[in-house]
Symmetry: C2
Subunit: 380 residues, 2 copies
């Protein structure tokens, strides 16, 4: 069943790019595909496009369902649809699977046409900057000169920020949610543990597990279990599970506490679905992103080329991308006399809050997005 305000049944599309893409690392991708979805209608003067950038394990499938019987809608369906905060009656919304991803865009699981085998370990390490460059190619492909807005949470927020730096004339508004101008050492440390769990899994085979007909499931499972802890606040885990036992204490290493069952379930599910090489690359992109690095850590100097207007949102219980990190972005934008709205939302859910349909949060987005002017009046 589809809700009334769903974007409805959607179809993923694929754009092929033949012009080589030089990555930040210096590696060159001779050609690549990007898988994407769109919702709403591009207006006459092409001024109503909004790009949604996904986080670590996201995809292009942001909203709607693939069939009436599809169990779950896209990952940000609560945000995107007719009369939803990101209103598809007004905006033409684009979701895209990042380059290096495992949901259709070219990545480690894709076949390298030169070898006829999966790229595997040879797929280059892509960065936030590379993603934004490839997304600009997608806009060219779609004939969109300028984005009304780019929006993303977490790693997606880094891409939104990077859009304003790489293409200051192609983006009018950036919504940077639950994000940071770079990762803290602690955040990078969690990524490192997750990667080491994957890389040291004997089934990883140096990243070429496809050839061995296996996947480093154990490592990916540990990585995801760890991730889940950091997406929730301590309080949220306490409220959701507390110390609830499934039955009496068994003096075993089985899942005796409900929280243990939850983590194992999430880990198993993810390990069966997600590509390990992609996980490694997504976390590395997070580690590397640091626009202030070439400016000796001066974020204000780094953001000097930005021209967009900004909405920055953080959540009080988010300990992985804390409000303090968002305020760093806000300060640097204000130093450059840019127009910035900042909301620090009181929310219990930790980092995951950016995905939740919290009324206060959604109203902030709704209000901000409704005030964005679009040119043509022919956006249905």
């Amino acid at each position: 069943m589809l809700e009334n305000n769903s974007v409805g049944i959607v179809v993923a599309q694929c754009a092929h790019f033949d012009t080589p893409l030089t990555l930040k690392s210096g590696a060159v991708l001779p050609a690549f595909d990007l898988t994407y979805e769109t919702y709403g209608t591009l207006n006459h003067d092409k001024s109503n496009a909004v790009l949604i950038c996904h986080a670590l394990s996201g995809t292009h499938h942001v909203a709607g369902k693939y069939s009436e019987n599809d169990k779950y809608p896209g990952w940000w369906d609560n945000l995107v649809g007719p009369n939803k905060p990101l209103d598809t009656n007004k905006f033409f919304v684009i979701g895209v699977n990042n380059l290096g991803g495992c949901h259709g865009s070219t990545g480690s699981v894709s076949v390298n046409p030169v070898t006829g085998k999966p790229w595997g370990s040879t797929f280059p390490i892509v960065t936030v900057e590379d993603w934004v460059n490839s997304q600009a190619r997608l806009l060219d492909f779609l004939g969109i000169p300028t984005l009304a807005a780019v929006i993303g949470g977490s790693l997606g927020g880094m891409q939104a920020l990077q859009w304003t730096l790489a293409f200051p004339n192609r983006v009018r508004h950036a919504l940077v949610i639950a994000s940071a101008p770079n990762l803290t050492a602690q955040n990078m440390a969690f990524n490192e543990v997750a990667r080491q769990a994957i890389i040291t899994d004997p089934e990883f085979h140096g990243g070429d597990y496809y050839a061995h007909n296996t996947v480093p499931r154990r490592g990916l499972r540990i990585a995801r279990m760890l991730g889940h802890i950091t997406y929730l606040s301590d309080d949220a885990m306490g409220a959701k599970f507390g110390r609830k036992l499934k039955s009496n204490i068994q003096y075993s290493f089985d899942a005796e506490f409900e929280m243990e069952s939850y983590l194992r379930y999430q880990g198993d599910k993810f390990a069966g679905e997600f590509d390990a090489n992609t996980y490694l690359r997504m976390t590395r992109a997070l580690d590397y992103y640091d626009p202030a690095l070439p400016f000796n850590g001066d974020l204000s100097a780094a953001l000097k080329q930005a021209k967009a207007q900004f909405l920055v949102v953080s959540f009080t219980s988010d300990w992985r991308f804390s409000p303090a990190r968002s305020r760093e972005i806000v300060k640097a934008l204000l130093d450059n006399e840019l127009t910035v709205s900042y909301a620090e939302v009181t929310a219990a859910h930790g980092h995951d809050a950016f995905l939740m349909p919290d009324a206060h949060y959604h109203n902030i987005l709704r209000t901000y997005l409704s005030n964005i002017e679009i040119g043509g009046n022919d956006a249905k």
Copy 2:
């Protein structure tokens, strides 16, 4: 070289117990050894004994060195020694390796006399309550009726608390540092991820890796890397490593950031030294400890039998055993009209702060311990 105020060269000792010990799980250990060390001299009326309880990976080797050339002293050497905060001129100090440990006391690595093979997976799961019971046996063995004090940090603090509940007449003071009346769901979740990393390591062999002449090194390494993140505060990691690169970005999964090298080093070191089965059991003991459980979560009711005087210490940046958790203990003790001193120490080091020689913290311990009255004047 030994410092002036070192306890000097020390020798570990072993006490053997032949009377069966019934564990909380119902399992019975027919006999067991406890490895321990002592510093200072037991006074005539045996009123100056202080027991130190160790945390997750601690040992009986609290202070001093095993030889002049020993590279490192015991793990709490900055606290214990002549004229140190826990002054061995006044006190007779006992360090003991917990039952189930891997440093001499009977545990998974020990040979089960019935089978002639290491206990391995068959060694029972021990609890904080079991440790305290076994430690009481050690006091009997040493001819000590009553402890002047019991002291511990983290999991050691739980043992100190448990001493006052299990043997209210055998302990006069309890120093409960950086601890909690039970673990939060988040804390248990970190333990679960660590255990799953170990248990799913193909070299674990269901806990009987000794028979396969191997150890689950990869899992233990991941567990320790993860642990290290949680022992430090985000700020401490930032101050210690920040985003410092070892050289330029290499676009690889090598240890490019200094923090990555540190974590890998710590993980490798630990995996080469510590026993995986012991790690599993120590974390499970942490999970299970919850004196309020039989009292429907009413900690005040749970602590009713305590008679000791208390010093409770927490550290502002400790996010794994936060000050709020220490305050729960303080409140429950006050509800029972017990004498409690509480110090919330401003410290940057996170949970690890309890092991650091912070002057303010050490002065608190020094003052508290110096006020403990001991009977005989023959403690040198």
